[in-house]
Amino acid sequence: MTPLPSAGRVIRAGRLLTILGLLGMALVYVLALQFTPVEARQGMAQKIFYVHAPAAWGALIAFILVGVASILYLWLHDPRLDLFAEASAEVGLAFSAVMLTTGPIWGKPVWGTWWTWDARLTLTLFLFLLFLGYLTLRAAVREPVERARFSAVLGIMALVLVPFIHLSVYLFRTLHPQPILLKPSRPSLPPEMLRTLLTSMGVYTLLYLGFVTLRYGIGLRRAVALREADDA
């Protein structure tokens, strides 16, 4: 049986990273509101971009890592990989919730509509619902090995959707703006705006690390308690 690491240490590390991430988020707000110029055509609504794009980035990392951990779980059968996938899926949902709420709030003043069923938006909503289903599946199956195997398959299937979402702005006619950072050419932003965006992406990466470590620690503690109960 695979030995599990100490949940207490993981939880303490997660709390520290989460606090640093939340402080970083406050810093991003100050940077975006006070030290970043207002875009001439979109006005203040353009500043939504500094929370929307990094939240999308956080969700992307989270869901890719669910898929990678799921592949590795089916190969190695290590329960820590399953616990990590569960943690990353939940954190990805939190970031997706930010992405799916801030997007329409930006869309209303800039596009004139809260929502449109174009490829990027629809596929992103599907991904959110898929991971909602992933966590529901985990809650419904009680046997740990069976739960890990079923959810790993779903995690891998969802991974296929991620690059498709990123490329959807090239593959389909869509209202959604094209990528600014994750593209072959140089970033298309003035330096002050790029600085704020990159800072925000760094902060959201830190926040992801904090959330996922803390959530992994919670899952680990539960798994250790269940194993001890089975042994008793």
Partner: protein
């Protein structure tokens, strides 16, 4: 020069929603980790 669009309330709403979701999730993790 064209006038800037007056849409700051949308930005405020987005920043508030973001903070509520992420701080709320952090609190939920904190409570579950105790």
């Amino acid at each position: 020069m064209p006038e800037l669009p007056q849409n700051a309330p949308y930005m405020v709403a987005a920043y508030v929603v973001t903070a509520v979701i992420l701080v709320g999730y952090a609190v939920s993790l904190w409570v579950r980790s105790r």
